[in-house]
């Protein structure tokens, strides 16, 4: 029994390190090429920086637009809920009746607040705000109606519930026009939807541009190293061996391009941050500019690296097989 075990073990052991050794040396070779190509790029820093910059700018454009869109969405997300219903009353309705009506409305569960703007208040406000003060004074009678401004309760602020509320108020005899002013919010959302699609299309186009940039750079690189490739093939290099450094070079170009795009977008946002805050203050808002958050920045850098790898893959596939030693 002991003899059998002793004889069996070396056979197993001999096979084990074989596979392990091969895997390790394969991984080591990859690692070696990985850093070797990085070293190659630093040997021609100007050319490498140019390529990475072009990729960076191409990626920064859609990334920057994406961030602006995110900001616009976050800024406008609360607006739907704050929609108010304006009920313009018939001019013959007295202020007292209007206040009574507002009180009834405010007691409804769907309504948060209902406030009356009397005809006199409306005129005063209009005179002050519009700059038509003198013209209005020339009028004999106040042309403005009383208005009840109804703020729907938060629980009933979705579009359907508010529409129902509007319909209900419109049937009141005292109400001339019931106006629910959500149309412009809807238009804004529709507009942002279009812009979002536009950003997607732009991102797709510029991704193709990055593929082509990296592909062309790698193609030139392959042409420049034609002699080296031929010699390597003569001494037994496989296509995979020759392909590897070019693929990693493409990866590095893309990665640095992605990092540069991140830096560009971040610093542009930093430049915009203070003026935006000033503007927000003027609107009595505490709105602060959103930056590129973690996932988005990883997607940006990651897609840069992947596009670089993809571009070099295309170039290598097209051009490497045509180089045979002569």
């Amino acid at each position: 029994m002991g003899v059998v075990t002793q004889r069996a073990q070396p056979a197993i052991r001999r096979r084990g390190p074989g596979i392990r050794h091969r895997t390790i040396s394969w991984a080591l070779r990859h690692l070696q090429v990985f850093f070797y190509t990085l070293g190659q790029l630093t040997r021609s820093p100007f050319g490498s920086a140019m390529t990475a910059s072009v990729i960076g700018i191409a990626l920064a454009l859609p990334a920057g637009l994406y961030v602006l869109l995110e900001n616009a969405q976050s800024m406008s997300s609360g607006w739907e809920g704050t929609a108010q219903i304006s009920l313009f009353l018939h001019s013959k309705v007295s202020d007292g009746r209007a206040a009574e009506l507002a009180g009834q409305m405010a007691s409804l569960p769907e309504v948060s607040t209902a406030r009356v703007i009397t005809r006199a208040e409306a005129l005063a406000e209009f005179q002050e705000m519009s700059g038509f003060g003198a013209a209005l004074e020339a009028l004999e009678a106040n042309p403005l109606p009383s208005v009840i401004v109804v703020q729907p309760a938060v629980a009933h602020s979705d579009a359907e519930a508010v529409k129902g509320l509007v319909a209900k108020f419109a049937t009141q005899a005292e109400v001339d026009i019931a106006q629910f002013d959500l149309q412009w919010v809807k238009r804004l959302y529709a507009l942002m939807e279009i812009v979002q699609r536009g950003v997607l299309v732009l991102a797709a186009l510029l991704s193709v541009a990055v593929l082509l940039i990296v592909g062309n750079t790698i193609r030139l690189d392959i042409e420049n190293r034609r002699e080296e490739i031929e010699i390597a093939k003569l001494v037994g290099a496989t296509n995979a061996f020759i392909r590897r450094p070019f693929l990693y070079a493409g990866f590095w170009y893309g990665l640095f391009g992605g990092l540069l795009a991140y830096a560009l977008v971040s610093s542009a946002l930093e430049l915009l941050r203070e003026p935006t805050r000033q503007l927000a203050l003027l609107y009595y808002s505490d709105f602060a500019l959103l930056g590129l958050e973690g996932t988005a920045s990883m997607v940006l850098v990651g897609s840069g690296a992947l596009l670089g790898l993809g571009g070099s893959w295309v170039a290598v596939g097209r051009h490497l097989s045509s180089i045979e030693p002569s």
């Binding site: 040396s25 394969w26 070779r29 002699e227 080296e228 031929e230 010699i231 390597a232 093939k233 003569l234 001494v235 037994g236 290099a237 496989t238 296509n239 061996f241 045979e324 030693p325 002569s326």
Partner: protein
């Protein structure tokens, strides 16, 4: 080691570089291949190195029928054959050490193994003290020695040399040829294409002569 059976190579333009060549070269043999330029010497070597494929006939090298070798296996075949070129084909942006190490790096040898083997090869060609230099700083003869070191570093069983002394003066040429002799003496099969008849006739090896793509005195070579 090398067996040609009725081998022809016709190029797409209709030119037949070698016609119906048959010969055998035994294991451990050294032999010269000569003839005028254009007689087909290079084509013969290119067929053996699988840089080109024959149009007809059969080539067997080290037991491997080259006609049956798939394209993706060619790199592994070439690792078993050392090749030396008239224009050296060195990488001028790499040191002597890195040039010689290239076949070992490609074959995936370990770091310390590469260092050991490269120095052994450089020692054999007498360039051990120049491993850190760049090929451009070396003389023509030295560059050719680097090429030879690169060809033997993988310990191939077969060495092919295409006009290895083409650009060298007679004294250096003799030294290079003697270097090939020393490799032959340790069992490496060597085939050298050269038109330097004066030099090769003074050495005691068989000579294959090609004339317009045909082997002279072919009967004597098939046995």
């Amino acid at each position: 080691m090398i067996q040609f059976d009725d081998v022809s190579k016709r190029y797409p333009n209709g030119h037949e570089a070698i016609s119906r060549v048959s010969f055998r070269l035994g294991v451990g043999e050294m032999c010269f291949l000569t003839g005028h330029s254009g007689a087909g010497k290079s084509t013969m070597l290119r067929l053996i190195a699988l840089i080109e494929r024959s149009s007809r006939g059969q080539i067997i090298v080290d037991g491997q029928n080259l006609g049956r070798l798939r394209k993706h296996r060619i790199p592994y075949y070439r690792r078993r054959v050392g090749m030396i070129f008239q224009n050296h084909r060195l990488l001028f942006d790499r040191t002597v050490f890195d040039n010689v190490a290239l076949p070992l790096v490609i074959a995936g040898h370990r770091h310390h193994e590469i260092g050991r083997r490269v120095r052994a090869a450089l020692d054999k060609v007498g360039l051990l003290d120049k491993e850190r230099l760049y090929p451009i700083t070396l003389s023509g003869g030295e560059q050719q020695r680097v090429g030879i070191a690169r060809a033997v570093v993988n310990k191939p069983r077969l060495l092919l040399a295409d006009e290895p002394t083409g650009n060298l003066d007679p004294e250096l040429s003799r030294e290079i040829m003697e270097l090939f002799s020393t490799f032959n003496q340790v069992g490496v099969t060597v085939l050298i294409a050269s038109h330097d008849l004066g030099l090769i006739s003074r050495m005691d090896y068989r000579i294959l002569t090609l004339r317009d793509g045909r082997l002279e005195n072919q009967e004597a070579w098939v046995s």
